[in-house]
């Protein structure tokens, strides 16, 4: 009987964290210049749920932080980047605060 809470609670916590991801990180192809980044940032800031956007040409990474309690679906993100002219390779939802991510990227870390 003690087995169930031990398994269920972490699973529920994981599911909750995933549902309220602080930051969405996307791996993007074709990201080679500041103008590319500028266009992508402009597209992503149109979402009412967007709190901040970080783009790293070095890591081919586009990250969006979300406002509390809000979300942008993977499909919407893929559509936005496709409409901006780029190809999304992967989308990952994390709990990494965007300020921490920005600092990590500034130090040249992936």
């Amino acid at each position: 009987m003690k087995f169930l809470p031990r398994v269920l609670i972490p699973l529920l916590l994981l599911a909750s964290a995933s549902a309220q991801a602080a930051t969405i990180e996307m791996n993007v192809n074709g990201l080679v210049c500041a103008f590319c980044a500028q266009g992508i940032e402009k597209q992503l800031r149109k979402f009412p749920a967007t709190a901040d956007v970080v783009v790293s040409l070095e890591q081919k990474l586009v990250a969006v932080s979300l406002k509390d309690g809000q979300d942008i679906s993977d499909a919407e993100l893929r559509r936005a980047l496709t409409n901006a002219g780029y190809t999304v390779k992967a989308i990952e939802r994390t709990q990494t605060p965007i300020a921490e991510l920005r600092e990590r990227l500034k130090q040249g870390k992936p």
């Binding site: 192809n29 210049c33 980044a37 040409l57 190809t87």
Partner: protein, 217 residues
């Protein structure tokens, strides 16, 4: 106005605030303003708006001043630009653009204003360290036909990051048809860009200034 804009571009370049080749479509929902001073032979000012990442429209003004003869052309035009194909690669991007439009032209070898047509294409390949592009731009009417072909090869000394200054060294080769310039005009250029501002300047094999400025917003 055109000379003032080009002069401003040159001043920015000389002040060190200066960009890979100008694209006729910057990004969806964005405006592009571009001014070029081509060694006293051509001067061009363009304004485009891109409702989508693969399409833009706008207009421009082109002045041609032959360094072979006293021939001059002054052309105002409206233009549509279309991104025919883009390759988004792991560490590179390649594009093929085409464009076309109509306008009116005056010149000193014919009377009045004539209907002018324009068409062109550009192919480019870009990584964060290497750049290559070829552009062909034609302006024609019942009174003249001029084509400007431009090849650019660039090398960046470092990989720039978004928010920082990008630096490129370029070699440009350009040919004009229709009695504007004889032979190939080559130029060495320094290109700098940051955010939405791009400026390049350099000198041609004839010792003349070649400069360009572009703003995307």
């Amino acid at each position: 106005m055109l000379r003032w804009s080009v002069g401003l571009a040159g001043a920015c370049a000389l002040a060190g605030s200066i960009t890979v080749m100008a694209k006729p479509i910057a990004f969806a929902g964005g405006y592009t303003v571009m001014a070029e001073y081509g060694a006293g032979t051509m001067e061009e000012l363009q304004l485009f708006y891109a409702p989508r990442y693969d399409f833009s429209f706008g207009g421009g003004h082109l002045e041609l001043d032959s360094d072979e003869t006293t021939k001059t052309r002054s052309i105002n035009y409206a233009r549509l630009n279309y991104l025919l194909h883009r390759w988004n690669l792991d560490n590179a991007q390649a594009n093929v653009f085409v464009w076309g439009g109509v306008g009116s032209a005056t010149g000193n070898t014919f009377t009045g204003s004539v209907l002018a047509e324009n068409a062109g294409a550009q192919a480019d390949y870009e990584t964060r360290r290497i750049y290559a592009s070829f552009k062909t731009d034609w302006q024609g009417s019942s009174a003249f036909s001029h084509r400007i072909d431009t090849l650019q090869l660039g090398l960046a000394p470092y990989r720039h990051e978004y928010g920082g200054i990008a630096t490129w060294f370029l070699v440009q080769a350009r040919q004009y048809t229709g009695g504007i310039h004889r032979g190939t005009e080559s130029a060495l250029l320094l290109r700098l860009f940051k955010g939405g501002v791009w400026v390049e300047a350099g000198v041609t094999n004839g010792g003349k200034l070649q400069a360009m400025a572009m703003v995307n917003f």
